[in-house]
Symmetry: C2
Subunit: 242 residues, 2 copies
């Protein structure tokens, strides 16, 4: 259609970054959302913190690049990985860079031991107490947290923070942390019961409180519906190299 | 993080394409979803039909490129424009191309007169009777229709197909076409009443049926919540040139 100067699409570079979210608990306090950031070792924004990521390799699919970034940063496999948005404002970097950003959820228990391939330049931060960030990464994280808050309203992604077996209080705490407000325990239990997606196990967690029954997810399917972008199709197509 | 060969992000080109959706009515039949396609005049896939789009200009924002494509193809302004997904499978084109795809809704009345800058190579198709398509564009359209079906469940985007004043039957027909199933008129009216987003006007449509009251949308806000990606912010940032 167009006969503009950029007829060949040159002069633009593509990066892939990933917002990696998990829950962190200290003692008996309510859990908090935490994410790993990487200290930049070169300009632009040298020494500032940034989302994990890098240039897209021409032979690598977008999802594969995001998964590789996640493995390099944390050494972990995500419970949920989804494309967030392609950020492409002309002034977001000194040169023209399109960042295809993914967001990932890690199980709380996994993230405690997270160690990547470059640990001296990686640190975990409370999502509400972030340092100064490079580029437009503060806005990207804000959007990822907004997507998470919205998505828990029509999917089971909150369970991506939890181990395979969890109590109703664990699940409610995850929702409360994501939504930033308290939920009534009795109402929450009724709503979860109504969805019929949790199976009670015969195991209980014991401790300082009265024993709490452990539940597991009723289905083997993904935590949210990807529609025509099923992960099998995505990964097969994107990792095949011509 | 990475020290792979693609250290500078070269060898990859960025295109922007747009899935432009509208409703088309023939006589008294139920409306159908229609979209414009462009016949390719060069390889790869010469003569095949494709989504409107082109290479991203280094000085142009992503949303601006999608809006330009839409104007060039149809001569029209959309009632809704949103980024759909960045498609980047390594084998989707002979060379490595990342396509940042947008989807747009046009009001039915506007689209009847749609004329772009290259009308001889543009044609409108029924979304359920598409010709052979170039690249992965058939899958992209499938995903756009899935997104639309999902989004009408938690937003007012279906109104993006309608004129500023419409009857409840118009609105129900739009939902029925999007969802691919009949909706009970009385239930539909109750659900719409419960949302309190429609304002009855004092005007009626008269014709072969009994007069039907015209409604308009209660709010001036966007048809769906964009969260931190508010359109003002997006367009300001993306069209500013350093």
């Amino acid at each position: 259609m167009s006969t503009r100067s950029a007829d060949r699409g040159d002069g633009i570079r593509v990066a892939v970054s990933t917002v990696i979210l998990t829950l962190r608990r200290e003692g008996t306090a309510a859990p908090r959302i935490a994410l790993p950031l990487v200290r930049r070792t070169r300009d632009p924004h040298e020494d500032a913190w940034a989302l994990p990521g890098g240039w897209l390799d021409p032979t690598e699919g977008l999802t594969a690049a995001a998964a590789r970034t996640l493995a390099e940063t944390t050494g972990l496999a995500p419970s949920w990985l989804e494309q967030l948005y392609a950020f492409g404002a002309v002034d977001r970097s000194p040169s023209r860079v399109i960042s295809v950003v993914y967001w990932a959820l890690l199980r709380e228990e996994d993230a405690v031991d997270a160690v990547g391939s470059d640990p001296e330049n990686v640190a975990w931060f409370d999502a509400e107490q972030l340092p100064a960030l490079a580029f437009d990464h503060a806005r990207i994280i804000e959007y990822a947290l907004w997507r998470l808050r919205n998505k828990v309203g029509y999917s089971r992604v909150a369970q991506g923070f939890l181990p395979p077996e969890f109590t109703l209080a664990d699940l409610r705490e995850a929702y409360e942390t994501i939504l930033g407000r308290r939920l009534d325990p009795a109402n929450f239990r009724r709503q979860v019961d109504a969805t019929r997606t949790l199976i009670p196990t015969n195991a209980f967690r014991t401790g300082s409180h009265r024993p709490a029954r452990l539940y597991r997810d009723a289905t083997d399917v993904e935590l949210a519906d990807r529609g025509p972008l099923s992960p099998e199709e995505t990964s097969t197509e994107e990792t095949r190299i011509p």
